[in-house]
Symmetry: D2
Subunit: 357 residues, 4 copies
């Protein structure tokens, strides 16, 4: 159950302290120009050690393609890739071998599999998302054909919230701040908040907002695989995610129907809606308006401070991890959110080909 | 793309004004006692006309099984069923034939398929959820074997919010109020709010909380099919749902890691957690604690009042629908939320069998 | 595991002595004209009682559509259908309740499920193929868009073999003989052979040849889902089938490579092959030539004569079934072979859409 | 569409002249001892250059595991692996760049994808089967838990046929002959026949027989995924395979039902059948008897002699390939047939877990 997607499918593999992280993309159409620099750049946006507010682990994370590309183009055959693991300090984890760290997957993996690779979380490590970012980058190359653009940015860190809506922001500015918030003033507050958490050996959560532009009306499946259900499924599969909402979301539950309905009007290029509480999706299918959504990330569980817990023999123990960890996962999660959105949309783009013979 | 689940699978069919709504459940293990009365009762909890705050359409909605059951037990073969459509006033929709109702699926279906059954929303009608409730009831019969219980209740209607957490409530009282809120005082306020919306020919949204008890540690898949990702996917596939969160959800984003982490302790029956911000799921896998989540429903789009819109020839029109519609979908959505949760859990229950040879 | 196909998918349901046999077709594109008369006609080609050499059970087998069709056209939504069971003599089977009939599925079902519907074979009955014929007929309506035609005919009954290859036959004559062999002289011998088997209260096997014309070059998947692998999979899933070969098949194993290779030549409408030992498929992908294959059917196991066997308490018993059964399944299996071929081809037709954006 | 299996799933990647061939096995249960020597040995049985009757290309074909194994055991997580390509003479293929070799996949790939990696057949190369042999070896390690053993041997080369049935052979002797026929006398004739083909710069086909012992009654799915349908699907997906039959196969079509039926008797360890025309499978489900089947391989298409053909500009050309190729693929295909059988059986072994809660 390590495959994502129905037509454009990623199957991922790898543990944080194994040989590497990689995957196979199956279902990518032939003839797509595989812009290696672009893909590597997406991966570098995700890697540790990229700024003062991320972990100082240096993982170069260079992707190596193993198949499916010939003379710079996809061949319609499986595209396999790997990012070799380096800079691993597996020894760091020896003292945690039998311990169930609080709010990690140690305990549940042990219960599920009866065994686990304890080194750095094994398969539950967020390093697995490398595979998603690589595949998501290729999905974005496919989506270029349809004129679709995917954006994400940090809209909340702890209690620091970006007050503006996405329409008021210049989303091309996101990467100009190390926290990946396109509003400079808010970005500075967020950075200060993350630095504070780092000083406290603590962590802080937040929210990432995603925006997709250029999706034509008609993508999505009407019943179970509603476009937003697949988007939500993709986002909820990212480590540390606790919630997903799209369009008016939870706050829309307080509106009346007459406030919430998006009135259709005749626009210059066909039918439009006057407002967009629907978040670009109606009845599970895109309506041509911007798609936007919000993804909640909990504060990550790895704290560089003393915590009580138990080990697998049910003994009480105190742990006090050392090492290099992010106090806030959100800046590095932006390319992951974008990647998952791109995977979902590329899948629906291809599925929509099945409706027109 | 009308199939839900990987092992315990529902494929649904039917339009609101066609012959009926039904489905095939494939992957149900043999030997499950099929308690027809229980299933019919679940369906009746969903049907229209059950109280003064739901639509007065009378649809008896009696389920008829077509296969897979012999001498009262599942056979391991596909269980097909249908609920025949009755009390249809298809003629009511003739004047809406070419119109795109605001925030409905009329426009997007037309764009997707190039055709649509305009009568009552066709396949986009919430009547489709009949198939889910029937299949969910059978999933609950399967889950009984594992001692799993699924609950849901209305925790918010418009701005009326239930202040208590689920731990403070007696969830067996939910159906004693017509609004399906187990707290009597709040229930009365909610009913009043819905009646107000009805008088205004308007609608109101809200939140349903789900609680699952008795799931042992170890269910769920670690990467894409995290238990909460599948739950969220199921919920987001329900009509009118705009958001999903589990455990600490969106509000947990404001906590620090040291506040949010659930410390493991040694309980009487093995390892427990002291708090449950994780919502019973860690690393995508159940940890044996209660699973709880919240589902946001928008106010439904069918208003019995004048609204501007356009038709498929891009003419501006004014519609003023008559008929019988719910001012608030939430009371009737409670069994649907329970059904989707049960489908997801039965699927993971079966998947977990694959890990032990 | 009752679903066939990846994009154009049939999920079937039903037992021979339950309420009926039916299915859901998911993935049929919208806008296909659903020619009900054509579909019913295909079904009638399969039904019992159609001639003196088939069982005299009279099952009218009228298909009833439940969803997915509006104003005569497919809607892109699931097409559900049922054929109600009639003329059931369930009582006939009471004395066989605990008996494992030789070479039937009684014993294996009991071992698999721990339970079984003993009446007429339950789900293992060839009545299940009704669902395939209905879905196959719709697949053929889809394939009309691509100009693809599917034929099958009886080429062997017992030791009576049709000497001519398919190229020497007029395949439109197949249904003019009750045995569905387009060569009149051979047909008569086959009929005599079947009548002989019937008089002996015995049964006889044979071979059906399939031919598909008009498939353009490029359909099929190169590795596991080779076009002939999917065809073979479909055929081997038909009751009583024991073997499948395509193109030169088993006899081609005796040729040398220089005899077997199909030389490419320049034809009037592009590239052709001089011979067609490849059976229209190279590397798993259609090459534009005729696709042809052979399907082996064993003599069916239901004999109207005394046979020794054991019951589920391991007692030795003698059975002597009465009733109405086919001495030879092949004439009625012709539309089933055609249906399975059509399902496979429609699936690959749609899959091929995914390669061109 | 490069995934095989439903529960125990192999997704393969790689081209013959790319970086390497590999795959991901998903769904392998945790706790399986991964016997690396055994796996490498299976792979070596498949590799070129192993005897005087196979190609003299020397490909060491050493498998490298990338994930999913920890302390010698499977973890329940994806097992990725690669065999790096070496000894590639890509330049050999430059003169074939635009040519469609007879009975190869060159033409059909070009038509399907609009592009192709022409070097050594790219993805259509039989080198892809490396992934199957590795995954099949792991499947066999899983099947050991159930006591299942998989055998295959060469039973026909050209017109040289092994007269004995598998019951009369000692299947442990298969690898004692380089042609992998357990009967020494026939083996020698086969070797002579292959050497003759080699001298003629020609090729020769044949048949491989498979035998599976120890499968308990109850494996297999009753309708589309009949155990023999999945076996046939697996075999027909192997390069150069033209046919599949199991049990009595094509020759059984000439028997009468009373000759063909396998009478149930009471054996020492429960119910048995007196004969085994059923090939160990009834109604698609194993009955506890030996499973046996035959797989037809055409003579491979790569001839080291002059042949006429056309290129992609529709010019007539003459090719005269040089290089190192097998005159007969069968000896090296034995481990591939075993691997595919093991993959199918491991999948059904796991599926059967879903029937007992």
């Amino acid at each position: 159950m390590n495959t994502f997607g129905r037509i454009f499918r990623l199957t991922s593999f790898g543990e944080s302290h194994g040989r590497g992280i990689g995957g196979i993309i199956d279902g990518c159409p032939p003839g797509i120009e595989i812009d290696l620099e672009y893909i590597q750049n997406e991966l570098s946006r995700r890697r540790p050690g990229q700024s003062k507010i991320t972990t100082q682990r240096m993982e170069p994370d260079k992707v190596e393609f193993l198949s499916g590309i010939f003379e710079g183009k996809s061949q319609g055959t499986p595209i396999a890739f790997i990012v070799w693991n380096k800079d691993q300090h597996s020894g760091d984890y020896n003292n945690l071998k039998d311990v169930f760290r609080p709010s990690h997957a140690d305990y549940t993996y042990q219960k599920k599999y009866g065994t686990r690779d304890h080194r750095g979380g094994g398969r539950s490590s967020a390093r697995e998302t490398i595979a998603r970012v690589v595949a998501g980058a290729i999905a974005r190359l496919v989506l270029r054909k349809a004129g679709v653009q995917v954006f994400a940015y940090v809209s909340q860190v702890g209690e620091i919230e970006l007050a503006k809506g996405y329409q008021e922001l210049d989303l091309t500015l996101t990467d100009q701040s190390i926290v990946r918030c396109p509003d400079q003033e808010t970005a500075e507050k967020m950075i200060a908040r993350i630095e504070e958490a780092g000083r406290d050996h603590d962590t802080v959560g937040g929210v990432i907002t995603g925006v997709v532009r250029g999706v034509p009306a008609g993508w999505g499946e009407p019943v179970f695989n509603k476009l937003h259900a697949d988007l939500g499924f993709g986002m909820l599969g990212i480590n540390a995610v606790k919630g997903f909402e799209y369009g008016s979301g939870f706050s829309g539950t307080r509106l009346s129907g007459s406030q919430h309905n998006d009135i259709f009007i005749k626009g210059e290029e066909g039918i439009k809606t006057k407002t967009n509480h629907s978040g670009g999706i109606q009845g599970g299918i895109s309506n041509g308006e911007d798609i936007y959504f919000r993804v909640a990330f909990k504060p990550i569980a790895t704290l560089l401070k003393e915590q009580k817990t138990v080990d697998q023999y049910e003994n009480e123990v105190v742990i006090n991890p050392k090492g290099r960890h992010d106090p806030c996962v959100l800046p590095r999660a932006v390319p992951i959110v974008e990647a998952m959105a791109a995977l979902v949309l590329a899948d629906h783009y291809l599925m929509q080909q099945l409706y027109t013979l």
